[in-house]
Amino acid sequence: MSELIATLVVLTLIKATPIIYAALGGVISERSGVINIGLEGMMAAGAFFAVVASFATHSPLLGLLAGIGAGALFGYLLAFAATRFKVDQIVAGTGINLICAGGAAYGLVVIFNQPGASVQVASLGHAFWILIVLAFALAATMQWVLYRTPWGLRIRACGENPSAVVSAGLNPLALRVYAVVISGALAGLGGAFLSIGELNLYSDGMTAGRGFIALAAVIFGRWHPLAATAACVVFGFFEALQFVLQGQISWLPANAMQALPYIAALVALAGVTGRVRAPAADGVPF
């Protein structure tokens, strides 16, 4: 029994980590006033390019950097569209999701010459524990930056009242671009963790809605980095539970257990959202 609990704890941490990175990306983006529906696609881009770079250079570290870079690039695309062209952020994010998921599937055929999954590449191995610890450290750091530093105050002001930021002599659009690029980089890091941290390859659809679960965690955590991280641990727990319960409880169908994390996110979404308030200018072009 204690062995089972230990497995559950370890798996929970592993499963929560990629969602935490994406959720932290969601928090900083929404705090600056840009809803990042594209987190899912940015994770896929990060996961895919991490594998490509690791495949090309045999260095998982460069793979990790490539994943972060790819996420940041798509973050910039969203930021550019949202600030320069004032596009509907949700429409643009949906476009990014399609581009990234389709692009990765296309890339698998072009680069690895096989559909569905890449070849196996050099993975981070045990070093992925550093990334797990880093996720929690980053959450604490972001909490501090957002609430205890001038830059954090400015980012939050962009999400609440961008006109006030202009009055203070700053450019809210530039701040939003920084925030969304960081958001993409974090989502890319989460994706890279999935592909070359947990595993050693990219497979089609491997992000499996985690970017959206992260968005649910952002709302559940009321746009606070630490609270959102706690929500991610809860979702990670349900994902881990499904693995641990398989083969343990015969009367519960396997497919029902696989749906657990998504049902948990739905329940969380319904359970708290009526009583929370998003940043006032969240999703509003300026």
Binding site: G95, L98, I99, G209, A216, Y262, A270
Partner: protein, 341 residues
């Protein structure tokens, strides 16, 4: 620019841009664009069978796109059409497998079952939004995953056909198959149903109080609320109807093409339909044309993959880019004209 040239130049510019991007994707895959486009168009329109398959894809995209359009008009971003399509198909397939009534009645009952199934799936998100203020984008997306596992569980066990090898329901009696529209192809009269639905929706949006309420609550919710529109009820209703329309689409795929339900019902029609609805500018009649365009990409994409070795997934990248180009085009038009288009 005059209004007329802008109306033509905008979409034309988008089409040219998209063609250039597709050419680049083909070159990257090691195929000349000439070969690639030839394979695409011959594969989509080169003969009776190809045209039939293109129109089959058009129909499959048109239903969820119309559903998405209805929700969008109320300002609700329904990205759960994929799940609603699946549940609609599941309900129709499950019912069709056990029916013993005359053919036409059975087909109508199956379509109704699809509407109820898809509608119920949309209603969950609508209820969550109206009752708890839950974000409908995340709710509808999560429900896609739940739908996929739910359907897989049911057709692996209780609803699995007695003779079925894989996870699927029993085959339908041929009297419950939707009549064929184009002989010797898989195209059923579902296409006519979808176009008729588009006409009804166009009329509803532009000529009825409900259509006005939808638009008012989407564009100016506060004004709508103060004018006496019950926003919670409208939210719930819009997402339910949106799901029901997608669900009917799922039922027509089961009754018209597959003649049974399995979980491979849709290769992402519900997601492509978002692009279709946006390209069609949320106008049902334009959406019909957009669905045909995307139908060409869907069926031609398969042919292109087979004969020119360009992966079909490139099509999804193109769809994403189309969404981007169109979203930005509004802003450019605003800048040029000085007024909102």
């Amino acid at each position: 620019m005059t209004r007329a040239t802008r109306m033509i130049a905008g979409p034309l510019g988008a089409v040219v841009l998209i063609l250039v991007l597709m050419s680049l994707a083909m070159i990257a895959a090691g195929t000349s664009p000439v070969d690639g486009f030839t394979a695409l168009f011959v594969g989509a329109l080169g003969g009776r069978n190809q045209i039939g398959e293109t129109l089959v894809a058009t129909t499959a995209l048109l239903f969820p796109a119309l559903g998405i359009c209805l929700a969008f008009r109320a300002g609700l971003f329904n990205i759960g059409a994929e799940g609603q399509l699946l549940i609609g198909g599941l309900c129709a397939g499950a019912l069709g497998a056990v029916l013993t009534v005359p053919g036409p009645i059975g087909i109508v009952l199956m379509l109704i079952a699809g509407a109820i199934g898809g509608g119920a799936w949309g209603a969950i998100a609508g209820w969550m939004k109206a009752r708890f203020g839950a974000n409908e984008i995340i709710a509808t997306l999560m429900l896609n995953f739940v739908a996929a596992y739910f359907a897989l569980e049911l057709v692996s066990g209780p609803l699995k056909g007695p003779l079925a090898a894989g996870a699927e329901t029993a085959w339908l009696d041929p009297k419950y198959w939707l009549p064929t529209l184009l002989p010797a192809t898989r195209l059923s009269i579902a296409l006519l149903l979808a176009v008729a639905l588009a006409l009804v929706l166009q009329w509803t949006f532009s000529r009825t109080v409900f259509g006005y309420d939808l638009r008012a609550s989407g564009e100016a919710p506060e004004a709508a609320r103060r004018s006496g529109i019950n926003l919670a009820r409208l939210t719930w209703l819009a997402l339910t109807l949106s799901g029901a329309i997608a669900g009917v689409g799922g039922a027509t795929i089961v009754s018209g093409e597959l003649h049974r339900f399995n979980t491979q019902l849709s290769p992402g029609y519900g997601f492509t339909a978002i692009a279709v609805a946006l390209v069609g500018d949320l106008q049902p009649l334009w959406i019909c044309i957009a669905a045909f365009g995307f139908g060409i990409l869907e069926s031609g994409g398969l042919a292109m993959q087979a004969s020119a070795q360009v992966p079909k997934d490139a099509i999804h990248v193109i769809e994403g880019l189309i969404i981007f180009v169109l979203a930005a085009r509004r802003y450019v038009a605003t800048r040029v004209e000085g007024t909102l288009p």
